[in-house]
Symmetry: C2
Subunit: 963 residues, 2 copies
Amino acid sequence: MLMAPLMAGLTGSVLASAVRFERGGGAFAIATSQSTTPVWVDPSDHKGVARVAHDFAADVARVTGAAPPTVSTRGTGVRRAIIVGSLDRSPLVQDLVRRGKLDVSGVAGQWEACVVQTVAQPFPGVDEALVIAGADKRGTIYGVYDLSRSIGVSPWYWWADVPVRRRAGIWLDAGRRVQRSPAVKYRGIFLNNEAPCLSGWTAEKFGGMNSAFYAKVFELLLRLKANYLWPAMWNNAFADDDPRNAELADEYGIVMGTSHHEPMNRAHKEFTSRREHIGNGEWNYVSNGDAVREFFREGAARSKQHELLVTLGMRGDGDVALEGTGGLQSDIRLLEQVIADQRQLLVEQTGKRIKDIPQVWVLFTEVQKYYDAGLKLPADVTLMFSDDNVGYLRRLPTAAERTSRTGGFGIYHHMDMNGGPFSYKWTNTNPLPKLWEQLNQALHHGADRIWISNVGDLKPLELPIEFFLAMAWDPAAMGRDKLQAWTEAWAARDFGAEHARDIARLASRYAKANAWRKPEVLKPDTYSLEHHDEALRLSRFWGELRRDAEGVNTRLQPDQRAAYYQFVLHPVRACANLNELLLAAARNQRFSRQARASANDEAALVRRLFAESRRIRDTYNLELVGGKWNHLMDQTYLGYFDWYQPTADIPPAVTELDLPDDARFGVAVDGSVQGWPGYYLPPTLPTFDGLLRNTSWLEVFPRGKRPAPVQVTAEQSWIRLRAVPAFSAGKDDVRHEVSIDWANVPEGNASGSIVVTDGRERVTVGVRVAGATVSQRDAARGAWGSLGAPFSIPADGFTRNVEARGVRWLPLPDYGRVEVAMTPEPVTAASFADPRQAPRLHYPLFVGGAGEFNVDVITAPTLRIDPAHELSLALWVDDGAPIVRSVFNPQERESQEFLGRQHDLNARADMRVMRFKLRIDTPGRHVLTVAMVDPGLVLQQLIVYRDRLPASYFGPLPQRLEA
Amino acid sequence: MLMAPLMAGLTGSVLASAVRFERGGGAFAIATSQSTTPVWVDPSDHKGVARVAHDFAADVARVTGAAPPTVSTRGTGVRRAIIVGSLDRSPLVQDLVRRGKLDVSGVAGQWEACVVQTVAQPFPGVDEALVIAGADKRGTIYGVYDLSRSIGVSPWYWWADVPVRRRAGIWLDAGRRVQRSPAVKYRGIFLNNEAPCLSGWTAEKFGGMNSAFYAKVFELLLRLKANYLWPAMWNNAFADDDPRNAELADEYGIVMGTSHHEPMNRAHKEFTSRREHIGNGEWNYVSNGDAVREFFREGAARSKQHELLVTLGMRGDGDVALEGTGGLQSDIRLLEQVIADQRQLLVEQTGKRIKDIPQVWVLFTEVQKYYDAGLKLPADVTLMFSDDNVGYLRRLPTAAERTSRTGGFGIYHHMDMNGGPFSYKWTNTNPLPKLWEQLNQALHHGADRIWISNVGDLKPLELPIEFFLAMAWDPAAMGRDKLQAWTEAWAARDFGAEHARDIARLASRYAKANAWRKPEVLKPDTYSLEHHDEALRLSRFWGELRRDAEGVNTRLQPDQRAAYYQFVLHPVRACANLNELLLAAARNQRFSRQARASANDEAALVRRLFAESRRIRDTYNLELVGGKWNHLMDQTYLGYFDWYQPTADIPPAVTELDLPDDARFGVAVDGSVQGWPGYYLPPTLPTFDGLLRNTSWLEVFPRGKRPAPVQVTAEQSWIRLRAVPAFSAGKDDVRHEVSIDWANVPEGNASGSIVVTDGRERVTVGVRVAGATVSQRDAARGAWGSLGAPFSIPADGFTRNVEARGVRWLPLPDYGRVEVAMTPEPVTAASFADPRQAPRLHYPLFVGGAGEFNVDVITAPTLRIDPAHELSLALWVDDGAPIVRSVFNPQERESQEFLGRQHDLNARADMRVMRFKLRIDTPGRHVLTVAMVDPGLVLQQLIVYRDRLPASYFGPLPQRLEA
């Protein structure tokens, strides 16, 4: 048996490397330039198997131009056939097994498993067959779609216009290949928050969320090896909207569910649209119990006809908190009664044993408190934990829970949100390393029965959706250090190997940057204009990303560009434009304050970039594939005041100055919001640090309508100046980069100045230098530190990584705010009581002075998935006593509270700060140790400073002292 | 002896009613159409007396067109003379006294007193004389200027271009009139924060702050009966800038001082410009004591030559806190040493006794803490308390202090500020009732030795400056209830009686409104757009004020308009425009959020109003009197980020929406920031209260480029709608006022709705009515209250005012946020231990329901002038237990702290909230009692509400329930 090659899931599992597009080596001919091989399906097989056989024929036609015939039985008069059938239903396949032609060991009886095998003389008169035999309906279907992917039909061929490469013929190497059962039993998505985009698009293209639309969704899900769906429900009822919907899902092989707050197989809209006929019309189990139970009863009956996964429980009227009874314990008793009644109705209406009906209870938002407070849930119900709505799981099963719950555990995850802590609906903000880290936690903690992710309008979340489902199927294929390779394989599949690296990089980077702060909560003042050149760095980042993305676009074939626009170019263009727009608005406000004439140029730039944002959107909606995706970019994203979406995009407000008709000048400096002449304190640059050897800048600009020629002169020979373009839309603004000629600066602390003058006015900018001695420089070499300035240490900047009891800090590349984060593995490791004996990282440190230091440890805002853990971390210097800080101990709880103000802030910044205060008694070189106490922390960066840290989003950039 | 008539101070003290412009009744002819009466001054009199005689001659010429000769001795050959002389120096006058011709009883030896008397046959050959004889130099000068004012020469004739009415002749009724000594010995102003206005203007008009400029200042001060000046010192040194300055001040009769932080008669700039020659250059008594003492010594010598009031003590280098020694007690010892040394230097350099040299020590900002902590100040030094920089005195002398300090007490007051808690430099924000209340406190607490007020650039603070100085002279003339009359007398003097009432009203109202929140801290969101129609009310207020001011302007004579522009029209135009500008910016932001097309009209309006603000400024600077006042309106006021002024005015940022090219509509409603369709909760109007019978509104507007015709229909017949213009710059926006047909609404609580539809979209606005029963209406009649809505009680809305121990709440008209405030008098009353026996106000109250109520008592943010008082107030309902709340008790101190965050907020809003929580056990009518505990509180308003008060600046308007 051939093993699944790395990344195979993307391109067709075990089949990928066996497909050939040239004849040879005894390979099985699926299609040649002369002929096609017919596809046989037994008429008594599942309908969905026959359907997928037709899809496969169409896929072959997509590749070769000619569709093979599909025959609803064993055909005759051919020497070669493709036989598709399920082991549980296909006599055709069962016959092959019986006759020893097909080896189904390791497949038969295995949930959704499949064997793909070439068989010589399968039947009399037939020379050879390619048999695709699933253990069950979906196993067979997945096997067929695996082959489709392997021959070059992307799961996104329709949903994102990924072109299919034409081939003269298709062959498959002879052999037997097995696709085993998936890691996660039910894998699906939730179409949610579906207005204005998905609603508008389906209304225009399908006339609503009907079976024509859902057929497209089901096909996509199956091609992605998903099996589970929560349908759209904002203003939709799956069963009501089109009577064919439910039937079709079952036929395709999709297990339908209802969302976390819609119990008993019924959409909430089914209730609201019939409310007047349901008792007193209240969605309330106390006041309207009989009528609500009747409503449940009708839902229960659906589990008899179709393969459904029943949501149990009850929340309030329309995805709001339960209308309680007034007390927590009485609410719990009420919910227990609701669930007991629901289960009884299921048995009564289906005639099945309750354990044969898959059921789930979802701990969304406030519902978790009932469970925490002791609600008793029958053991056969799957308990589904939720994330915090931004992708961090709130809870995972404990060892004790795992042993007792036969129904197992699931997770309800978000890639899109309309609600708290804030909404994000516009674009893809889900970097794969972040998904991987949390999904990996889920797997290792045993939450593997159901995975569902809220994916908004489905588009433009193609990449994270595929990743989520691929990981649910075969997590072994995508380790912490294989994510970039996976992304490249994805890009290679859909765009060809020659563009794979570039496209993978672009797709990863825009999503990573979007997660630094999601577009909806990005504001003009998010990034600092005055510290660390942060805003300029962001502007360059997006500028380069956009340039690269446009470059790839020109190199692609014309038929690839629609898919590329959807996957890469739209989000890169749109997000780069958004970032530039906000930065221009920020400069407009800052420059206004400095009485800088170019404030008006920034206002004009804001208007231009806003108009550009309309063009970028319209290209998606109106131009792409002749308007195929119209309305799917209707989402507003500029001007969120709260969690609900703005009715229209609101460009940032801008100020226009009334400029004097003269040539006066102004000066702004690194580290300050002020302008001179004007501000009462003199301008001074941030101290030049003899170890960091930082540069700095001042900007000179007109304040009137006319250019303002000035002389900029350093008063000391060791101050170097270099004129470069200012970070400004004003053509007459000039930046003067300031650096120090370290070879010639006086020893110790020095000061100097730079004079800016137009002959009348004069601004003197102070320069302060903290010089390092030779011995300081020697001692600091290779360490992280400074003489006095704040500095930053990246998580992977350690010199020793000490394992303990088989637990170790491991790198997580391309994560969060840094290149490489560190997190302890295994993720289920026990806590360490003594940090000195725990897995730890040693960082070399150099400080110019002794005293008290703040260390801000930047981690991901992961939550306490195991209630026994407090997410503690220890930190110390040299042989000092470890300082232990906890995120979730009772004292810290208030400041780091979940779903409170601190969680809101953490979620928006996608990080958490753990602040340590350290004493370092001697200047010079030291070792800073970070030790695990609890698992589950993702360490990104340490920021070290005295007193106050200048306000910025990312803090100082890490800079290793010159080695 | 004739008594000074009411308001006489303004127009010439006791002389005002004796001046005639027609011959008759034996009146003394100062000038006739045929002749002038010469002015005699003895050559040995004070130079300043001779100088003022020449001024008087010029004033007569201003009135009649012909200047009388001034004769530096007793003239000859005339039958009538005006004799001007001081009792201490003029042999001419002394001779009249000796010969019994002039009665100087009650004048001789009295500081700055004066007699003006007609004398028959004063000398042989002279038929009659008018003698103006002061007890001293300034007494004489004030007497002369009194006469000048009385004949129609305003103190502001030059400084504000007040025209002098031409008369054919001037006569004075025969008789003897006495001007007594002033209430406050030293009365003056501080020219401060003088850039960019005063600096720019003096540079252009005088070539700097030289003697030509100061001569104008001295003359003005003397005409206003001031005698004391702290000169400009930002970038100026009075003595250095022009060697004539000091000499001239002494000659005019102005007592020069130096500001609170400039000791020993020397400007701080005298130090900074010589720093390198003064020891080690540090302004530090520890590190550079000898050199600083030498610097002081040179200043001490100036007290020998000139009449100076010496500032003692020391702060840091340039109006910053003292560079301390590291401990409070050692700082105190250091300051005591500084003062002792300074006094020794004064004695040594002048040869005078220390008690003959007037000295002052100013408790500015941090300096007060040294005094509070026990610094020993010699008893003959005047102790000057400061305000909080916004006009509220921090401290006044206690009874114990008053008995022991022979040097007495003074106050340092601000009408202009550059610094904390915030800056206000642009326009006049000093309503007279607020000045009166605090100055009255100062007088009654014995702070009457020195009054000085920081008046910024002097202009445009003409009115409060004159009021401050007039009150310092004769506070009896300006009681709490005479302020409007005083203002009308001021307007009548400078513009004539026919305009007096209008102009006085305009001048009072704009200043009052500017004090609600000073322009520099007014922001677009200051006033609520959604509650109580507050922003609309403000817009109407300023619109009417501006219309009235423009109306008066057209009715004035052309030669009166320059003065009127300076006193009234500029501030009204400029402040009305500013308020409209900010409200347009507020609407722009609000409308953007509602996707309202007229957001763009508001953006255009902001641009128009900003351009208009430039024109209003330029009229002052460039057009008025041919540019005479250029630069005096250079002050920036838009875009303060902090206390320091913006370099250029920064108009508020505005948003421009990208409008769809269609005719869709939107709806906004009273009480909400949202727009519909869009927001997820349905729109509902504030509850209509059956007692308040409030109205409400909704606004309908286009969201696209085209008008959006809609039907607005009430679904119930008892809902009345009336279309009026929206509060919007959008011509297609419509407001629908909603009221209730109370005769036809169902009993009790009712609900209904209003439907807005264009035939496609439909918005349903909820209407909720709380109906009052007949008995509720009967019980509520004449009370303050509601069925449930928040309501407000004005301070003078009581039905009983109970006096206790001679103490009583008295009305203070036109004060703060209300028409009439109430404050206990006498201001020096002792506290009351039992509120039930204290002076108290009973308010009739009606509440629709029982339970807990919040009562926000709105007072002025007065401070604890007597450290023994906590500013406590008591409040209770019916016969309940009094609840006592204190502003300054130790527990409350933190929230109401002085010069901390709460003080900042209070100072910006010019009010303080004292929050009481009350239980009212039965619905219906009650009596709410407010009782004094401590004196010093100025009660403005009570706001009563359940739960949460909708956010607004003023709260609900008071509305007495229908009588």
